[in-house]
Symmetry: C2
Subunit: 387 residues, 2 copies
């Protein structure tokens, strides 16, 4: 079986696209990815999306988007796993190509939040919590993050201001990413004075929900057209794990078991240890989740993940760069599309095309997409294979 | 690569389950399927569902359902393709196991429509049409079927009353299916006097939306526990095709191109022709769709599919039995679960466990799950492999 490779990537800027419909967003990313893959025609489209049925009143994107992408007739299926929908779509696209029954698949993540504003949007996003036991009581995703962060502060007593390192790093890295939403640095002072959203989570601790679409073309290595001159990126590990959806059902809410299991699974398949990667694209939907992801992957002991933000380890020239193109916080969090943005960004790094954000000699990446407080965790190991 | 087989099946009765939550429905089907598979533990759960985000305010079933099924931690992902969500989930579960990276997967289709009633439900279901160009103008799935049937009557001039054969056959077959919603025969007279819903579609031409859950365990043949004594069912062909989501974008709305393409794809993989199957589980969400499915699969010339309903061909003792356990019309149409019910029913036929509905010597089935007017079409060829 030939390697499964990313032959092309495409993305549109993350932001508030009041004037661009859901389908147009997706089509732009899909066509860009296909062009980048030398015009390779996919036989299937797997779509990561969370909110279209609630916010845009649109289901069955699997028929809509192929047609509008001039691919009428091909297989089209939508994949949902809350904030990990994009990673989930990539996972299933990978398995489809790996099975040998689909030669080439395009995976697109798309989210259109600006079809509604205010409480209706908030409510739609919060449906990723357990409706019967959490959301019915008013618990949103941000409230969940507040509870988790409060517990962390209580249990491990880190300095509160240390969490600033994560949004500051994200914003610093977004400056060099033309597809990022917030391309400006923020200061410790701005963090310290940010308004509280769900105590102790402040405005800088949470990534902004936004519109966006990103796509990748997956194929067998032997099918990549000769005209493709950029390096290829191989999928060498892939894993998904879940946890209880309701936070109150976890004996240890700070453990992020699914995050750990998915990293273990992806690294086992790739035959590596987590420390063998050159960078780690994690999910900083909330800064506390970035900390817990570092701990769950084994990069820091429990209760000490926050320290990595302070000693330069996570910067682009550090030992374990994260959020290299701005992360969720500064690139923006287009929910069901976010996981595909992560893959696109990692692929660009591995291809040496990350511009001023380039990590020198990046050969191998770990990419992890979380839904909620690691209720779903999708991890992939990507490797540069030539060039 | 070992064959991918259905090692176990489970289902709950289709109906209006006011007293059973979405999660409880799904768990019952999942546990029944795992038990039927000799207790084989899945590493992944793929969930077919359409309405949970809108009707039950619940997304990320991929975390919720594994946990409630005592499978906390395993991979869990939701698949949506309108009325073909169940077939789509089965397709992706099949590809996952075929890839070799997932040993055993449970595919569950679940739909809980009775969390709301009336216009809210109607609207949620209608989101499977193109919102911007169809639903915004008031076009529902039933209205689409009305337009398609009107065109068929105009173009081919079949006797209007001939369509009665399809719901009559469905109801006749449902009598012997303990999981069916309407276990009583209906008469030509009842059909002829049924109230009009969306002219010319009358109440008997459309399947009733209902609650339900069905599940199958997919695994490699070499992993099936020795304790499993029932025959195994092999997946020998699998294919998905799409069409334009908006009906008005089709040059020939009666062609059901996606239905044809998916049958061709599945049969090509299985190395058979459609006429080599012993029965055909098609999608009779509307009786006109049953007719067009027969034509698209090549069982009748264009404009003549309705004739097959009149000469006994489609009955259990006929040349091409369809709707063998009651079809969508009489088993009920639990939308995102329907495609998995079709697989369960076909597997029971192939195992020789269809009771009074048993088709003698059933060795090979074609199963097709449509979303909307064949906007999405999922086809599988299933074969009995032993026993």
């Amino acid at each position: 079986m030939s390697d499964v490779v990313i032959a092309g990537v495409g993305q549109i800027p993350v932001g508030e696209h009041w004037d661009v419909s859901l389908r147009s967003q997706a089509v732009r990313a899909v066509l860009a990815a296909i062009k980048d893959a030398g015009g390779l025609k996919p036989q299937a489209m797997y779509i990561g999306n969370l909110l279209a049925p609630t916010v845009s009143h649109q289901s069955n994107l699997g028929a809509l988007l192929p047609d509008w992408s001039n691919l009428t007739g091909i297989e089209g299926i939508t994949v949902e796993a809350a904030g990990a929908s994009g990673g989930g779509a990539f996972r299933l696209g990978y398995l489809a190509v790996a099975s040998g029954f689909v030669d080439t698949a395009v995976v697109v993540g798309v989210e259109k939040i600006t079809d509604v504003v205010g409480p209706e949007l908030e409510r739609a996003i919060a449906e990723s919590t357990d409706y019967d036991y959490e959301l019915a009581q008013g618990l949103t995703l941000t409230a969940q993050a507040g509870l988790v962060m409060q517990l962390y502060l209580h249990q491990y007593k880190p300095p509160r201001e240390a969490f600033a390192a994560f949004p500051m790093l994200a914003h610093e890295n977004a400056v060099g990413n033309p597809f990022a939403m917030y391309r400006k640095p923020i200061s410790q002072k701005a963090y310290d004075s940010a308004p509280m959203v769900s105590e102790p989570v402040n405005l800088m601790d949470m990534a902004p929900y936004a519109d966006g679409a990103a796509a990748v073309v997956l194929t067998r290595r032997d099918l990549v057209p000769d005209s493709v001159s950029h390096p290829l990126v191989k999928v060498s590990g892939s894993s998904v794990a879940s946890d209880t959806l309701a936070l109150h059902d976890r004996s240890d809410p700070l453990a992020f078991d699914a995050a750990r299991l998915s990293v273990e699974g992806a690294c086992r398949q790739a035959g590596i240890l987590p420390q063998d990667v050159d960078f780690f694209e994690l999910t900083d939907a909330f800064s506390i989740y970035a900390v817990l992801s570092l701990e769950a992957a084994g990069f820091a002991p429990r209760g000490e993940g926050w320290k990595l933000g302070l000693d330069g380890t996570l910067r682009r020239d550090g030992k374990l760069p994260i959020l290299t193109m701005g992360g969720f916080k500064a690139r923006g969090n287009p929910l069901g599309a976010a996981g595909v943005y992560q893959i696109v960004e990692a692929a660009l790094q591995l291809r040496g095309e990350a511009g001023s954000n380039q990590i020198p000699n990046a050969r191998r990446a770990l990419v992890q997409n979380l839904g909620g407080p690691a209720s779903t965790a999708v991890a992939h190991v990507l490797e540069r294979v030539n060039g």
